[in-house]
Symmetry: C3
Subunit: 211 residues, 3 copies
């Protein structure tokens, strides 16, 4: 069971590291900047989660495997042959960032719910969902701020709403369906909602709409 | 006594939520953005306070009433009829934001002092005042950063100075005058200083002045 | 031994306060802004360090000497005669900021390693070095963000790399050479690397280089 969560978290770490490192390439950062962007995107949400839970020092410092994975992935993205392949086609480039970011968002939102449950807050639905959403979107917000861009979460589509809905599904299924089914369902829902929202350009009502 | 602090905090939460939600309207955010802005402005200072105190998870996660109040207020602000009324007159709009922000600043600065005293740091005047000031200005700083604006605290008037003076009054009166009198006096001082500073355009000496 | 670390930390606090206060002067901030910038630059890295370590409330709140030093230095920098002298010559001005920032970076990076060791994480090389680097660069990042500038760490030279290398040297020498030698060696290495990097305009490979 623990192994399953661990593998899922490593996959989310790698996916977010790809999205951070590729944005750094686009901003023409040096190799250190690419690694910092990959690391922050991949581990930032988890650090925020652990600070809010009072789990200190955060897990990423006690288990270096996450940070090393993020840095390793970032270095690979920076390799001349890899980065040339990644950036050769701007449509493929955008698609890779979208897929990597969506996978990271889904996995980390449910990892956040799992951390709340493990810390004994499973009966606090509000906190479990909030922690899941913050864990999911935190890394991306830090990535965008560090790249000098307005956080994606505030400008587009139903990004954070997808994280909240998936975290709610995950928290609701936790007891009846078990951890594995809950985390896979929640992650999949977020991944799909995020892709559908990007494809169909879904957006939420604005103050200017028909007001 | 606890009830009094609780009611004051709810009032501050609602006031800050109004200021955050209305700034989000001005920035043409969608309904989710309006709620996030209202929630962050209202609860951000308290989360920073609790992290610095080591009270984890922060109170807003263990007592969802604050977050639900902030979100509820934000949704009401977003309602077409309400927002039309709020934004119809730009002078009235500015006045409402000023009043709501001033009330929130005064209440939260004193709630921060109360939190420091309750955690056993009542004899550390420096920490009590600092925690009060940070609790008071924290939500507004997050609001401005999220809206892509330079934090108000750094550009105008005696905003943070008012919070510090009110927190000092509150901390100094705590033992001799009692909690209720201390918090009401401190909050009122901040509210008045903030309004007077805005009205008379008070500012502090700058490097360029007569140097 | 404790006294040695204390004196080193006070020196780093003063150096960072100078760099923050002088940047505030350049941005034409008022006297309060100058003090906040000096305080945040000097104490920001330590607060981040203590939050990550779970040492709460952070040391700066329990031992006001650091904050008072930072505020005192900032007020001195703001004094008309001092600021005229500091800003009269733009080359001297840049040199003072560079020296103060380099000294602060070196001292705080090693103070971060010391904090990790004191908290019992001396055998976790990864965490000790990371905490050192974050403590060193944290204040400067907050300073740049508050001044509305892109963090220096992301735009120039080998700033953070110097902090990481010096923290590694400090952590590696801790057991064999003792605390004093480890901290002095690490701080000196960072100070020198930072100055050399600025002088020779060292930079790291970018994605655009020969790709």
């Amino acid at each position: 069971m623990e192994l399953f969560v661990f593998i899922l978290e490593l996959a989310g770490t790698a996916a977010f590291a790809v999205s951070g490192a590729m944005l750094a390439l686009k901003k023409n950062m040096d190799v250190f900047g690419v690694c910092v962007m990959g690391l922050t995107t991949a581990c930032g949400g988890g650090v925020i989660r652990d600070v809010l839970l009072g789990v200190l020092p955060p897990v990423m410092f006690r288990a270096p495997v996450y940070a090393l994975t993020a840095i390793g992935v970032s270095v690979v993205v920076f390799l001349p042959s890899v980065r040339r392949a990644l950036t050769a086609d701007s449509r493929a480039y955008a698609a890779i960032i979208l897929l990597a970011d969506s996978a990271g968002l889904g996995i980390f939102a449910c990892a956040g719910v799992a951390a709340a449950v493990n810390a004994g807050y499973g009966d606090n639905f509000f906190f479990s969902v909030f922690l899941g959403a913050v864990t999911g979107v935190g890394g991306g917000v830090l990535r965008d701020v560090m790249a000098g861009m307005p956080p994606y979460i505030f400008v587009k589509h139903v990004y954070a709403v997808a994280a909240i809905l998936g975290a709610m599904l995950c928290a609701a299924l936790w007891v009846p369906a078990g951890r594995t089914a809950a985390m896979l369902s929640g992650s999949a829902l977020i991944f799909l909602l995020r892709l559908l929202a990007a494809h169909f350009r879904w957006s939420l009502p604005r103050a200017g709409d028909g007001a």
